[in-house]
């Protein structure tokens, strides 16, 4: 505990000081620190690590979105990859068939996914728990099967040659260059999720997760907020999908969006800490690294991930984020007992 305090305290104090300058200052600083990461990674290791950083960024966008609907609003959804697929396919189609640049196809992909989010979210008005999981699973799989059987959406061949984004002659055509796009989108995504979750909207989501009836009695329009959570998470999935589609080599195929991918996302969120504001981020990073380090043991990988899921749910249901929360709570508790409140964030 003392080690943890020694690490955490200067950090929280620094964040506090920076926030005092401007609320965006810590974000900007982290963003600027992360920008040269490809050079660090390819210098220290090699280009593959830049590629991994890109994968992590896409996973973060997905898990941050999933955490909003699953972790904060408490709605069990297994349709998230379907929305990811919709974002990817719609952005790809708009740029392939209409010749639109990425900057047009990306928002279209995000919006189409958002609209689809309403459909995936509709069952949540009536269903809960396992039944909602089944309904969303069905919708997600239908999306994948639609893609698999429709030639326009790529069917068995997939969509090939999805154009790479470019801006004023700068083409995002390598892992390093695409990273700038991804890290920007990811930072904005994380920041916006903070904004949403640390507002009345975020508190309404959590209230619904904790107790639907109590939330409703306290003036929260439960069906509307549930749908809102689904739509917001769908926008994240759509953004992740569109960014995935245009990432070199610009190829998507329906088997990128199966239930296995969904389980991986769930594992990330559960490991990182379901309902913890950093949960998705922590989970995406750790799972991607572990996955990479165990790549040669592919035969045992599903077993490893399956078992870790079970062990997590049994012994660490709140994930790594939960452990961190617990640490702060204990500190506050001690503070309250001693009659002073500690100013931890």
């Amino acid at each position: 505990m003392t080690v943890a305090t020694a690490i955490v305290r200067p950090f929280t104090q620094a964040v506090g000081k920076l926030s005092a300058v401007h609320r965006l200052a810590p974000w900007l600083l982290v963003y600027l620190l992360l920008l040269p990461l490809p050079y660090v990674l390819s210098g220290l290791f090699n280009d593959y690590y830049v590629y991994l950083a890109n994968r992590i960024c896409i996973f973060i966008l997905l898990t941050v979105g999933l955490n909003i609907v699953k972790g904060f609003c408490g709605q069990v959804t297994i349709g998230h990859v379907g929305l990811y697929a919709i974002g990817a396919v719609s952005s790809a189609l708009v740029s392939l068939h209409l010749g639109a640049p990425f900057w047009v196809s990306f928002p279209i992909g995000v919006l189409v996914a958002g609209v689809a989010g309403i459909i995936v979210g509709l069952p949540s008005v009536r269903l809960e728990g396992a039944y909602l999981a089944l309904a969303t699973l069905g919708l997600g799989e239908s999306v994948r099967i639609m893609i698999a059987v429709t030639p326009l959406f790529g069917s068995s061949t997939g969509l090939i040659g999805i154009p790479t984004p470019e801006i004023g002659g700068f083409v995002f055509d390598s892992f390093e260059r695409y990273y700038y796009l991804l890290i920007t989108a990811t930072m904005i995504g994380i920041y916006l999720s903070f904004s949403i979750l640390r507002s009345a909207t975020g508190r309404a989501f959590m209230a619904i997760r904790e107790d639907t009836i109590a939330a409703s009695v306290h003036g929260i329009n439960v069906p509307q907020y549930k749908l809102l959570a689904f739509v917001i998470s769908a926008l994240y999935a759509g953004a992740a999908g569109a960014l995935f589609a245009h990432m070199p080599p610009g190829y998507i195929h329906h088997n990128n969006f199966t239930i296995i991918e969904m389980v991986t996302l769930l594992l990330m969120v559960v490991l990182g800490g379901i309902g913890h504001i950093w949960g998705g981020v922590i989970g995406a990073i750790i799972v991607t690294i572990i996955y990479d380090q165990t790549l040669e043991f592919y035969f045992y990988q599903p077993l490893l991930f399956g078992l870790s899921m079970v062990i997590l749910v049994m012994f660490m249901p709140r994930g790594i984020g939960g452990v961190i929360d617990r640490y702060f709570v204990t500190r506050r508790f001690i503070g309250a007992r001693e009659g002073k409140t500690d100013g931890a964030p």
Binding site: V3, N256, D292
Partner: protein
């Protein structure tokens, strides 16, 4: 106490990470990266066969004294994982040659990765025509490209059976594809329209009306494009309707599935389909190969997954033997180019495959789709213990289907 423990764990983690990342390039070692679909039992086995063959090359003294160091990764037939594997193999393992993938949906994106990184890639089992049409100078394909397959049946039928063909096409995607390809090939190769064409349900049970009409149309052959069970029913009903055996029955790609002969029984006799390898191949090389696979991996009739992987290893062995490799720390790019050029120089390799495999230097599909010959396999006996024979070998012109 806990703090010390924490630090120890952290140090251990860091050490293992660094160990995992630092791959020291050993001289005299040809690094080969493989990404394949390793999820099914068969997938495991032919992955194992590739590794075993490489082992045997090493045990026999390697290639020009150099050993092959192979890393096999599973891509689960998923493009994102395949791209991750290829990237890891290329940039981290610094492989000289990439083998993969078994799935078109993985090979398609990887072609761009290898082209950009300038690493030779040789494909064991992906038929999608577009893979070699991207214009990469670094890609080679061992199997028969889909663009050749599309014309094989039409070529054989037009030249050996006749031009009056009736079509029964089921509504599933694969059958629709096969049916359309055959009709358009009959038109472009022989200039004929279908003598009769009908759409049926994916799981249609009653074909009698169609069969009566086909009977009166007096055709040379009937193409039945449907999934296995549906095809078997249609075959049986074609004989019940009294269409004589002299009218040849042509199957779509699913005719190779065992329910066709076992359900259709005698009606399956004479039905043929195109493939890249026939276990019924009577050549000594094929019989030896079948025997080897049966002994080592307990598989009775190896399919083209095995034969193509085997051919690929032989071609790689041949090419690596020809390439002038330095294999030191500064020669990676030169060695990669040398291996590419060596593969491109492979000509008329006669292996298990349906025909000779030749590559050439130009980054065109004509040069990089090595095998242009498909084998037509026909059932000579239906039922559970069906028997097949090689009906014909059909070679297509190099620029066919472009």
């Amino acid at each position: 106490m806990t703090a010390t423990k924490n630090r120890l764990i952290a140090a251990g983690l860091a050490a293992s990470l660094v160990a995992g990342m630092a791959t020291v390039a050993a001289a005299g070692e040809i690094r080969v990266g493989i990404t394949m679909r390793m999820i099914s039992e068969n997938g495991q086995k032919y992955g194992q066969m590739v590794m075993d063959e490489i082992d045997m090359i090493n045990k026999a003294g390697g290639i020009n004294g150099n050993t092959i160091n192979a890393t096999l990764l599973n891509d689960e037939c998923k493009s994102d994982k395949g791209v991750a594997n290829a990237t890891k193999l290329i940039f981290q393992e610094k492989v000289h040659l990439l083998i993969g993938s078994t799935c078109s949906s993985v090979s398609l994106p990887i072609v761009d990765v290898t082209a950009k990184a300038e690493v030779p890639q040789i494909i064991p089992h992906s038929t999608n025509a577009k893979i070699t049409q991207k214009g990469s100078a670094w890609v080679f394909r061992v199997p028969v490209s889909g663009r050749y397959y599309a014309g094989v049946n039409a070529k054989y039928v037009g030249e050996n059976i006749g031009k009056k063909i009736a079509y029964l096409c089921a509504a599933d995607a694969a059958s629709q594809n096969d049916c359309e390809a055959m009709q358009s090939q009959m038109k472009s190769q022989h200039g004929v329209e279908p003598a009769y064409a009908a759409q049926v349900q994916e799981k249609e049970v009653d074909f009698r009306t169609h069969m009566q009409k086909i009977k009166t149309a007096n055709v040379d052959g009937i193409m039945i494009a449907a999934l296995a069970e549906t095809m078997a029913r249609a075959l049986t009903q074609s004989y019940e309707a009294g269409i004589p055996a002299s009218v040849r029955r042509i199957g779509s790609s699913s005719a190779s599935n065992s329910p066709v002969p076992s359900i259709a029984g005698d009606a399956a006799k004479g039905v043929f389909f195109a493939a890249a390898y026939a276990a019924a191949d009577r050549r000594p090389i094929a019989r030896l190969f079948n025997e080897m696979v049966r002994k080592r991996y307990n598989i009775n009739a190896p399919d083209h997954d095995f034969s193509q992987a085997y051919d690929l290893i032989r071609i790689v062995e041949l090419a690596l033997g020809r390439a002038d490799l330095k294999l030191d720390s500064g020669s990676l790019a030169a060695d990669r180019t040398a291996i590419r050029d060596a593969i491109a120089s492979v000509e008329n390799y006669q292996g298990l495959a349906s025909g000779p495999i030749s590559f050439c230097a130009a980054p065109t599909p004509q040069c990089r789709d090595g095998n242009r010959t498909a084998v037509l396999i026909a059932y000579t006996k239906g039922g559970e213990n069906y028997v097949t024979e090689v009906l014909a070998r059909v070679t297509m012109p190099a620029d066919f289907g472009l």
